[in-house]
Structure formats: structure tokens, C-alpha cells
Subunit: 456 residues, 2 copies
């Protein structure tokens, strides 16, 4: 095929970003502050430092510094898997017969299989620097747990992962990748924590839940010396670390003289979307350029398109600070039929504020059409996408088809967050034609929203 | 970390090779010809064309042309995943505290997870060009089946994969990747072939074998119009296609001014090793440069280090041409305890001849030490290697440790053929400390060698 630019728009090492970009600095209306659930007042640095490392707590609260230097040790680690490829999807364009130019930033080219490693390495670095001995977290699908295990192996930190019991049993391969990197994996609920023992006593046969795993991880972290809890999405610090995705994308597009028109990302907690769009949003906020941003969420867990913008609990255990965000209510649980990640009830407060200001559009898509896009993409571009990432593929394809109809040669950029190697059970359902869609009723959403706290 | 060259020694698109290199052209003693088992005489082009496409049959017999143009359609497809990265293993060097410089050519950066795609795309291209409607093959571990399914999806060819029944059942994820790319997967033995029906009748409860799957695939291919059988290793045509690995490696090393001292590859059928070393071996054969080549095989299936260099059957069904090769006898079956691939009883006739002329060294390694190397490598370099690839890692680490002892700053290059995402059952055994080693006895090997044909 004739092509006017390379298939992979790579940056050389010297062209790689050396600072993260903090989009909050350019926002006129800042994201609403986290609130202490006990006092109803904004959390202080000291309060937050009991859960997170102090440097990370600072980043969480910093909405004024536009750029933050990436520590040298993290830049070193980046060499393992960054820059990630920005791929011109010539094969997909040809298959769709579209005049659009499609680009995707592929974050699955590392063993954790997703973009989660970008924040895992940052969070473990600060933990190490602060002299901690280890970190504790929970994992559902397992990508975050894997990323954290890799980062801890690199810095020689202990790593404890509470893995939802049904995932622990049904996804033994993910579990073994985590163990191979030296982390301890505990099925949750477990008898290693008070909250776990209590739940086991009350529900002896339970297969666990993410909410319970979070509660166990937080308890385990704050009751052990030299430990902190870490979280892979939603937080503003995570969006900051993930801005490396957008910064590399922007640098590569500029290198090859491309101006993006539409930028698309899947949205669960918002870390990938926020990271991808941050620097472009900065240009938009500063009036330097305009872009259309599209957040894509599953119809089965539609926090942006059907949720409410209110203060809510971040965890089902209600122990973490309250955040103002688009939410379906902390008691909302997506149908078990739902195959991918993107199961979180709320959305990053940064993404929520930008969406509320209509700077981002949102679309919800159904999972059968998502897997159709995933399969079609795999067959022409040769990469098997994660179900989460495939939400973005679905809308990128839709937009490219629209361009075919209008004849517009738009530049469409989307985030391909990860690979689907550990999601073959879902693919099997799709291949067998037994995958179905699920959309929560208005009543279901109203019921879980009714339990949001009366604050703010 | 300070580094005098990039972590990834990448080629630009314009620097990518456009011809394959055929090492047989530079060999003074050519590999012994394939023999027709019925006549005992060298197979002719016409005979071979009944099994393979004519162009591939020509490549199989061509031991004089040093360079063969890579067709444009294949060069196009390469853009999907090539050039593959040549990585300077700075992290591993640091962990080993070695003065050696370690490089690895990583072929796992594509959805099939291994180098097999290099030959799959070539074989399907020629099948398409010859007007065939599809190809048929067998797969054990599943990497070749996945690669072939990807290539067939690209060219719009039908693809039938006979998958050894126990793998079909125990590796459902591999099977689903293959199905996602649109191929049909049949557990073998099956009732779709005469040979399958016969075996099912005689052994109703059998879980299948690679030998049986090959027999079914060959029968299925030659009894259906518009079909040919394809094979992912051992053949000289496969080594030709895999020379792209070595050509890219050589181009990247030259670009960065590095002269390799030691080149290491794992060896099952020999396609990866042969592909990696081919152009370097060409320089050695032509007296232009010297290199030390090391083939690494599992102690449980030691065809080079403990086999005999004789004519033997290539398949347990004894229907394919006879090849002169280092072999353990076509009835040799590695212990089921053996975790990785590299289970083939024989070795590429090209590699065999080079080894017999002492142009290549060979070492056998035990699987527990292989998985130790795999784990250590994953933890510092961030890539989870396939068990097969980890044989090469083991010896690369051993050589780097030797350099630490002697103080020599040798340039060590090894082939990292693939990723281990679908091998987590083996990793689990290792993580649980229940992996053991197995070395066949002299009597076992003598017994299977006794059945080699009395020819040549």
C-alpha cells in the first residue's frame, strides 16, 4: 500500500516528554475538592498522606502546576516499554474505505497488557522514595495488579494484591503473571483482615466483590507499618501520570505534521481517557486549538450519559474521601453479563468537570457491537484488543464510516489501551454467538443514585 | 541509567530488508535432499507441489539463490508488526553486573505471540497467488495455528486447524484467539478424516497427538480441491522466510556500529534459530566475519546434543518426505512433564548440516533452570517470555555471567521468539515449586532411534 507517512509514528528517545502535564492547571473551574466523609470539609494534605505517599497526596491536591518533572528513575523505567507506538491504521482505513485518517496510541505493548503501568511505576517510585517497604491494592480483572507487581519487582518493593475471589479462581493465568513478578495474591474476602473475616462469617460462600477487596486492601495497608494503599484509576494523580500517553501522542503527531480532529478514548474511571486527551484539552482550554473529544462508555455502566454530577462515595465500603463526579451511585453493580472492565460506578472528577462544561462528548455503546469492532479490528490491524479498548475502536470506526459518507478526510485519534489475551472467555461467548447486551433500567439507576450522600 | 545507544535499536521503514537470504546458497556442503519415501530418491518439484504450493516447493528445493525478493504484499503486511525491536538489555546487564552487552531480537510483539507469523504470511501469500481457496495445518501449543489464522484473515483464505485434542481442551484461550481470526479449529482426532475415524475407533478415549493431527491435516488438505498443507517449522522454506529476523538484526547492529560476538537461539525444529543466524552464518561461510553460534535445546528433547545425523521420517504418520537431520527418531515423545514447545524429534536439515560441520555449537538445558531465567528476565526487562524463548535467555545469562568472571565486554545477541501469556500453567508449576526436570535415558533414545529408516 502507498503511504505518505510511516505505519508507526515513533519518537526517538530524545523526543520523549520529560514532564507530566496537569490539565487542572488550565481549567477555569477546577474539579471539586475531595471531601473528608467525617467532616464534610475538603481533605487536607495531612489527612490524605495517611492513605497515600505524601508526594502523591500533593499531586492529588495540586490543581495549579501545569507541568511536573518526571523523576529520572521513572524515565529510565519508561525505556522498558515507552514510547508506545502511535500507529497509522492504514489497514483499517482500507477495510472501511474511508477518507478519514485513523491513528491509535497502543498502550498494550508491555507485559501488564495495558496503560496501567504508567501510574503503577509512578506510585511505586514515590513509595520507594518515601522509604516504604511495600504497597497494597486490589484488582478485579487483573491489569492493575499485574502492572503494580511489575513496578514493585523493579523497585524491590513488597506487593500485596487482594484479588476478587471469583477472578482469582476464574482467571488463574492473570494471577500467575502477578505471582511471577513476585507479588502476593490473596483471594478476597480472606481471613487476613478484620473486614474479610467479618464478611466470610456473614456470607460463608461469597465469591467476593471489588468493594470488599478495596476494603481489605485499605485495612491491610493502613494497619501495617511502611505500607500505603495504591489505586489504578479515577484519582487526579493517576490522570497526571497517564498524561504521558497524550504528550507522546501530541509530540508524534506534531513530528509528522498531523492535526487531530477527533480524539476518542474509552472511559471507566477515566484514567486512560484523561491521560490521552489532557495536553490536547490544555490547548483547547488555552484557546490555541480545537478538538472534538469523545468519551466512550459501556451501555451497561453509563456513568457519564445516565449518571448524576454529585458528591459520592468512591468505594462501596465508604471509607475513602468523597468525590464530586458523574456517578451511578456507589451501590451500582453492572450486570455480570458485562464482559469487559469499565465497571466503575463513577468517573474521574477531572473528566466529570470537563464533561459537565461540555468540553467532552460522551457516547455509550453495547457490548455485542463492541466485540464486532474488536474482531474486525483484530483481523485487519493484527492486534487483539482488550474489551475495554474496543469501546474506543467502536466509535472510531463509526466516525470513520461517517467520514466515508460525508467525504471528509478527518484525522481520528483513539486510545488502544490494551490487549485481550486474558479476555478470551468473553471472546468465546462472542465467537459462539451467545453474547447479549444489557442496559440498566431507569429504576435501577435511580435506586442506586438515591443512596448518594447529601453533601455539596 | 547512562546509555550510549538507545534501548531499542529500531530500523526506519526505508532501512527494512526487502529480500530474504537463503543460507543454503553459501554452504559448500548443501543440506542433504529430501527423499521420496516410496522410491528412496530425491523428491522432484512436481512431487512436492502436490503437498505445497508450487512457489513454496521451488523455495524448498532451491539451494543456490542467495537472495529472493520479498513480494510487495508481504512487505505491506510486515508493517503490521515489523521491524521487530532489537532491544539492548540494559536492565538485565545491570542486574547481572556484567561487562557484556546483551541484545535481544523480540518477535513476540504481534498477536500470534511469536515469530511464526513470518512464515505464515509468506505461505498464505503464495497460496492466495496460486488461486487456492484455503490452507490446512495442525497445531500443538497453538502459536503456529494463531499465526496462520491471522495471515489467512488478511488474505481472505479459509483456514482449517487440527488442534491436538488435549490442547484444544486445556488451552481454550489459544483456540478462541484462532477462532476470533475466523479459522475453523477441529479437535484431533476427529471424525472428519479417514485417519481420524480409524484412530477414534481403535482408541476411543485418546486425547490425540501431534503425529495424528499432522496426518489428519495432510489428508484433509490433499483430498480437498484448492487446498494445500502448510507447516510452521523444520522446512528450508520456513528458514528462508524467517531470515527476516536475522536480516533486521544485522541491519540494526550495523546501524549502531555493533559487531556481535555470540548469537544464541532456542532450537525446536530450527526455524527461529536458522532465521536469526542465517545472514551472520553467510558472512562466516564467506569468510567475511566470525561469530559463535549457540543452539539451545531442552534436555528433555535433545536432538542435536544426543541425536543421530541420519535420514528419518518427518512425521509419525510417515507420509511426508524423508529428511536427513539430527533426530531422536520419529517415535520419540518428550515427557509430558516437559512444559514448553521445542518437542519436535528432529531438526531442520540446514541447521543439522551446519551443526555437523561444527559451525554451530549446541547446548541442552533443564526446564527448571529455564524458568528461573524466564522469571529473572521478566522481572528486570518487563517482558514475560515464552518457555521456548527462555531456553535462549538461560544461555545468554550464562554467557553474560562468564563475561563477568573474565571481564570481557562481549556482544551477546539472542532471539526472544515470543511471549508466555498462554503458558501460565507451566509458570504456575514453577511458581508453586512443583516443576521438575526430565532427561531421557540412553535406552529410550536408542529405542526410538532404532526405528529410523535404513536409507541414505
Amino acid at each position: 500500500m502507498k503511504h505518505d507517512m510511516p505505519y508507526k509514528l515513533m519518537l526517538s528517545e530524545s523526543e520523549m516528554p520529560t514532564q507530566w502535564y496537569n490539565v487542572r492547571a488550565d481549567m477555569k473551574t477546577k474539579p471539586a475538592p475531595l471531601l473528608n466523609p467525617a467532616t464534610g470539609k475538603p481533605v487536607t494534605l495531612d489527612e490524605l498522606s495517611k492513605v497515600f505517599c505524601r508526594e502523591l497526596a500533593k499531586q492529588e491536591l495540586d490543581d495549579v502546576s501545569p507541568y511536573i518533572d518526571i523523576p529520572e528513575e521513572i524515565l529510565n523505567f519508561y525505556h522498558m516499554y515507552r514510547p508506545s507506538p502511535l500507529v497509522r491504521a492504514y489497514f483499517l482505513e482500507k477495510a472501511l474505505d474511508t477518507p478519514a485518517h485513523i491513528f491509535y496510541k497502543f498502550e498494550g505493548n508491555n507485559t501488564s497488557g495495558s496503560h496501567k503501568l504508567n501510574s503503577a511505576i509512578a506510585q511505586t517510585y514515590y513509595a520507594k522514595k518515601e522509604g516504604l517497604t511495600g504497597v497494597t491494592t486490589e484488582t478485579g480483572a487483573g491489569q492493575w495488579g499485574t502492572a503494580l507487581a511489575m513496578a514493585c519487582a523493579y523497585f524491590g518493593l513488597e506487593c500485596d494484591v487482594f484479588m476478587v475471589k471469583c477472578s482469582y479462581e476464574q482467571k488463574p493465568f492473570r494471577r500467575e503473571v502477578i505471582r511471577t513478578f513476585g507479588a502476593n495474591v490473596t483471594p478476597s474476602p480472606s481471613d487476613t483482615t478484620a473486614v474479610g473475616r467479618d464478611i466470610l462469617k456473614r456470607f460463608p460462600g461469597t465469591s467476593g466483590s471489588l468493594g470488599c477487596a478495596i476494603s481489605e486492601a485499605v485495612e491491610s495497608a493502613i494497619t501495617r507499618p511502611g505500607r500505603r494503599y495504591v489505586l489504578g484509576s479515577v484519582l487526579s494523580q493517576v490522570l497526571l501520570h497517564q498524561s504521558i500517553i497524550g504528550l507522546e501522542t501530541m509530540a508524534a503527531l506534531k513530528k509528522y505534521g498531523v492535526k487531530a480532529d477527533i480524539i476518542i478514548g474509552c472511559a471507566g474511571g477515566g484514567s486512560n481517557l484523561g491521560g490521552l486527551i489532557s495536553p490536547f484539552m490544555g490547548e483547547k482550554l488555552r484557546g490555541e486549538a480545537d478538538y472534538k473529544f469523545i468519551a466512550v462508555e459501556p451501555a451497561s455502566c453509563p456513568s457519564l450519559t445516565r449518571g448524576k454530577y454529585v458528591y459520592d462515595y468512591c468505594d462501596t465500603g465508604k471509607v475513602c474521601p468523597l468525590a464530586k463526579m458523574y456517578t451511578l451511585g456507589s451501590g451500582f453493580i453492572p450486570s455480570s453479563n458485562h464482559a469487559g472492565g469499565l465497571r466503575y460506578h463513577g468517573m474521574s472528577s477531572v473528566v466529570s468537570e470537563l464533561y459537565d462544561e461540555k468540553l467532552i462528548e460522551a457516547r455509550s455503546v453495547e457490548q455485542t457491537s463492541v466485540f464486532q469492532a474488536a474482531r474486525d479490528f483484530a483481523r485487519v490491524e493484527g492486534t487483539l484488543p482488550a474489551p475495554e479498548s474496543s469501546h474506543a475502536i467502536r466509535v472510531a470506526i463509526d466516525e470513520a464510516i461517517r467520514c466515508r459518507e460525508t467525504g471528509e478526510a478527518k484525522n481520528i485519534v483513539f486510545g488502544l489501551t490494551g490487549t485481550g489475551f486474558f479476555d478470551m472467555t468473553a471472546y468465546q461467548k462472542f465467537n459462539d454467538g451467545v453474547m447479549s447486551d444489557y442496559i440498566p433500567t431507569d429504576e435501577e439507576i435511580a435506586r442506586s443514585l438515591a443512596e448518594t450522600p447529601k453533601i455539596g
